[in-house]
Amino acid sequence: MTLLTVALNNLRRRKGRAAFLVAGLLIGVGTVVALISITQSMTGQTKANLQSFGANIVVTPRSKDVALSYGGVSAGGVSVGRQSLSQADLARIDTIPSRADIATVAPQLVGAVQVKGRRVLLLGVQPEQQFKLKRWWSVGAGHAPTSDHELIAGAAAARTLGLTMGDYVRIGGRRFTVTGVLNETGSQDDSLLIVDLGAAQQVLDEPGQVTLVEIAALYAGAPVARIAGEIGAALPQTKVTAMQEAVKSRQHAVDQFRRFTYAIVGVVIAIEALVVFLTVMGSVSERTREIGVFRAIGFRRVHITRLILIEALIASALAGVLGYAAGMAITSIVLPLVAQSAEVAWAPLLGLAAVVLAVAIGGLASLYPALHAGKMDPTEALRAL
């Protein structure tokens, strides 16, 4: 028989009381585990989504001319003149050390054309790369260009030129079939006519040339600025702009989300500490007579304190284990509802942290009640004497 034995027997044979303490802590630990694991999974998914969600590096020919804003992004030295890049030179991007950290390379050719008596911008793209880069692009009915005789129209351009799917339009002596209208994006893209890059190069008489290249670099990999530097070294005739602000704002959103989660976790921990404190304090009050007996038969104050703490720590450790399991169960249920493609990230270290957290909360919150129990006047506690 030791204090540990007494504590274990109390928890084992008065399951109701023990269950109350364990349940209170378990709910808090489970909530914290769920919040953190959901946040980690969503952060991972957000990063993955953001990695190729729009360009964060723009490559343009060196030019001293007036800057042209495209897609809400300053494209550096692009001018409306005949400055362009050789498409063949772009192969050198594949030789940079950080190539694995590049998700998408989307070369584009921009030029003004005459259609139905109006001047409009013609954009030549590699459709697969372009749509991968600009995930917000979508064609209602219809499809992206699959040949050099097809085009899609931005929403505003379609309205202005009266174009619908299936129409034919002549641009620079070539006939194109309208295979779709781009859904409204609210950007300059709505005013474009979009064709295959090769077709645009023929229409604009710029064989093998591009106006700019938009590149999406992975956040988890090398820093965007370093990738931009490597591209600049590979293509010295270009101006390479790292869209730091875009990267930072997206990262900021992710960080804000994570900070908000941690703030909620802090509040939950504080509430849990209070729950444990009140539960243990109530238990000590209920056990006044029992504590009086312990004191009367020769337990010192420190023995009483130790006994209460041992009980609280055992219950807390159990709550930590069960709380981790509950939290991961909640995560597996909730995560698909809030982030369809995110996967539950099983983290054994999170389980260990959950137990440590539970024991720490249980121990600290029980300290005052345990000390209070040790200080009880045995005569008052017994009352019969």
Binding site: N10, G298, A384
Partner: protein, 262 residues
Amino acid sequence: MAVVMRETDQETRPEASAPAGPSAQDDRAVRFIDVQGLEKTFAGDGAPVHALRGLDLTVPEGSFLGVMGQSGSGKSTFLAMLGGLSHPTAGSIAVDGIDLYALPGERLADFRREYLGFVFQSFNLVPYLTALENVTLPLAVKRMPSAQKRARALDVLERVGLADRRGHLPGKLSGGEQERVAIARALVNEPPLILADEPTGALDSETTVEIMDLFAELHREGNTIVMVTHNPEIQRYFDRTIVLRDGRLDCELPACSTDTPV
């Protein structure tokens, strides 16, 4: 008389440091319990309550002392103070030469553990511990091999005739059985002094006799027992009975007047 705390078998048993000559030992045996001018006043809501008003008493070693008196006479307060549970307002209590309330800090708790065996009114068994575990409880804070603790507790439990009920929780024991477990718990540390507060108060007459026979046996074995009781029928077990009234020693049976309330 100085008090020396001596480590014995890794436990702390308070001992008096009086010279060990035969006359001193005899004196300690005669004055095994030495109460002088004992007073206890509780601060009540209105006027203070004087539970004890100057009690003087000596009890030789090996006595079976009965303490009787009406409710409010101070007998339970006296027992609590004798058990080191309540500090006196004035006066002193010495047990085996040890001035209880001169003991520093938690040494009083050590004294209770090593010197006293308490048998409470209403048994006060721990409800979530079996009979054997309740008996072993005073040993929980002693440094002793678990097997030895268990053996000692089983031995005592057997002595009170409840070895076959050792695995039962108090809720599954009769009143008499619970009382026996309480007595066994009081004996497990082999204390020189046994204090009992109304041990038969909740028992029927037949069980009362069984329990008092057990106490009588302990007395015959040389234990010093102080028992508080309302029950005049068990007075025959005591070799000395005092009556308290209004916080004072009123008389000692059989010398009390017939109208002395007990």
